[in-house]
């Protein structure tokens, strides 16, 4: 496995500086007003140079840097930036993880567009620099922990690669403080006279386990760069949409249907090509001289091809009643996830079509009414009334929703 770690300024700080661009050269402290009993979340380079440290109380930071500007954290802005970072990473990497100050991407295998890992990582770094408008420090290594330390060892605008097999040598001179473990364990290691990761890696796993219990094994692996922690995939960060501008605004349902179908087919083809499935589908009409109208829905089963996507979009189209001529049609998919396969029941013929049947039932329900397609189920406590012998349920594929 090869992991890319990109270190960038805190996304909250970037969002704040985008909101107040006049503060770019000023010392800025992120966390809120200084009178609040809160810690410093992030600080600009000027503030850090003045002695401000992340995690210290805001009041203390104010004493260190009286000229600093204090800005609150904007969760919405951070979320938007994180989504943009993940989307950019997703463009070139199948599995990504977005954090406030670090983002990860999977560089395992080969990418068709790039001859080697270095050019692939460079492309990712350039993309992130374009999104965040700042230089990124990048580290590439065989594990998450080593990649993170490589990124820390790198400088903004540079890539530090640790080749396979060289992890232990890279880690050996680093101090114990970089280990993501309990500080008490670090203190005990220091008490033993172990002052760097190379010294810890030289110990046997049995010795470390005797001293530190189960944490000893993890400590041994971390010190040798053999940790198995991978990337925690960022869920549902991507949105794909397809927009079709009509030749002149129209209210003709047939034309709108064709437009939506064309968008759905194109998007479905992209989903199939990328082996992804959409957990949510939305359809929007851009109206002439009016605000656009849109609706979205969760298909009974994730839509991973053109047919399933068109079925989901068709069900939504019935909900949209444009009050003015439509100038453009847009179909979007979100909550993208790898299209997982499903084990069909071996002894039930036609089971493979169950998702398609349920999706069609969902579309019929949305078109003709919720009571038109239902699945009966016997009541557990029917009582004496015959009509209570059964209940009606919405048909749903098992395992979804």
């Amino acid at each position: 496995m090869r992991v890319l770690c990109a270190r960038h300024p805190h996304l909250g700080l970037i969002a704040a500086l985008r909101r107040y661009p006049e503060l770019r050269e000023e010392p800025v402290i992120l966390g809120g007003a200084p009178e609040l009993r809160l810690p410093v979340v992030a600080a600009s380079a000027a503030a850090l140079a003045a002695g401000v440290r992340v995690g210290q109380p805001l009041r203390q930071a104010q004493q260190s840097c009286p000229a600093a500007v204090f800005v609150p954290l904007d969760p919405a802005g951070v979320g938007t930036l994180r989504a943009a970072v993940c989307a950019e990473l997703h463009r070139l990497s199948p599995t990504v993880e977005g954090g406030d100050e670090e983002s990860f991407g999977d560089l395992s295998g080969r990418h068709a567009e790039f001859p080697d890992e270095a050019s692939w990582a460079s492309a990712l770094a350039r993309g992130l620099r374009g999104v965040l408008d700042t230089e990124i420090a990048v580290g590439v290594a065989g594990s998450r922990f080593v990649a993170r330390l490589a990124a820390r060892a790198s400088r903004p605008g540079r890539i530090r690669r640790v080749r396979s097999g060289e992890e232990a040598a890279f880690l050996a001179p680093l101090p114990l403080e970089v280990l993501p473990i309990d500080p008490a364990v670090t203190a005990r290691l220091a008490a033993f006279g172990l002052d760097c990761l190379g010294a810890v890696a030289g110990l046997g796993p049995a010795d470390l386990q005797r001293q530190f219990g189960p944490d000893g094994i993890r400590l041994h692996r971390l010190a040798r760069g053999e940790d198995s922690a991978g990337i925690l995939p960022a869920p549902a960060q991507r949105t794909w949409s397809e927009r079709l501008v009509l030749d002149g605004a129209t209210g003709d349902l047939e034309i709108l249907l064709r437009g939506a179908r064309e968008c759905a087919m194109t998007l479905g083809g992209r989903l199939t090509a990328e082996a992804l499935a959409a957990g949510e589908v939305s359809v929007a009409f851009e109206l002439e001289e009016m605000e656009l109208i849109s609706t979205s829905g969760v298909p009974p089963a994730p839509a991973g091809n053109a047919g399933a996507l068109w079925t989901a979009a068709l069900g939504l189209l019935g909900l949209l009643q444009p009050p003015a001529p439509v100038a453009a049609v847009r179909v979007s998919v979100t909550r993208l996830a790898p299209a997982a396969g499903r084990q069909a029941d071996l002894l039930r013929p036609g089971d493979g079509a169950r998702e398609a049947v349920v999706a069609t039932a969902e579309r019929l329900r949305s078109r003709f009414g919720a009571a038109t397609v239902r699945r009966p189920r016997l009541a557990l406590d029917p009582g004496d009334l015959p009509e209570r012998r059964f209940t009606w349920e919405v048909p749903v594929v098992a395992g979804f929703r």
């Binding site: 239902r374 699945r375 012998r389």
Partner: protein, 266 residues
Amino acid sequence: MPDSLSAALATLRSRYGPQALRRGGSTEEPGAWSTAVPVIDGVLTPGGLPRGRITLLAAAGRGPSGRLTLLQSLVALASRSHDTGYVDLAGSIDPGFLADLGADLDACLVISPGPARWERGLVMARSLVTAGMPWVGVALGWEQPRPSLWEHALAALTEAVAKRGAVCVIATPFPAALPLRHASSLTLTCAPAGWQRANGDVSALRVQLTTSKSKLGAPGATATVLLRYPRPYAIAEVLGLPSVIVPRVQPVIVPGLDEAAVAARG
């Protein structure tokens, strides 16, 4: 056959598949779905209900005919091995009765388009068949809309059933509409043959089934089944009744004996 024609046929087969061209005499036998009632399967030419065709259960006259009970029992049977759709245009569905017939309700999808909405019901049935539903039953009610409103939907359903190789059974009251009779490949006419009573209550209905139309075999075959209703300690089921031909006894006139004596001799 000229070489050019052979080459053209080979090109068409390679381009559109071997099933695209067939000789007129080599019509393929469609697959059959067994009803699990040997008496019924015995009168049906493929050995069961034909796949990819419309089967019509038509009432022979006004009044109860047993067609809906028979349809529901077939749905119950199908649900044990397939996903099954039941389009209830008659407004008579009782899932409890389906359960009494042994249906797997998890595999049953009940479609209720509303009374007399034949077109909507047939459209919904077509959508489900197109999506892959392998077995669909349609129960039509007494109130018949004008055929012009729904015959197009029926044609689309017929096409979808043929394309997907699904089993589609439509139960229709008397008289069966012309488009239905035209679309069906197999028409089973259901005629009541009498009630069966037990302890002063109706326990079952005897129904005579006649293949009044069959595109797959010779029509005219008959079978008698017993539609047994659920009762305490008795399940609902369809039973085939033995078709024993009892020759009518002709009185033998012996010279010298009067008619009373003939009657006494039986």
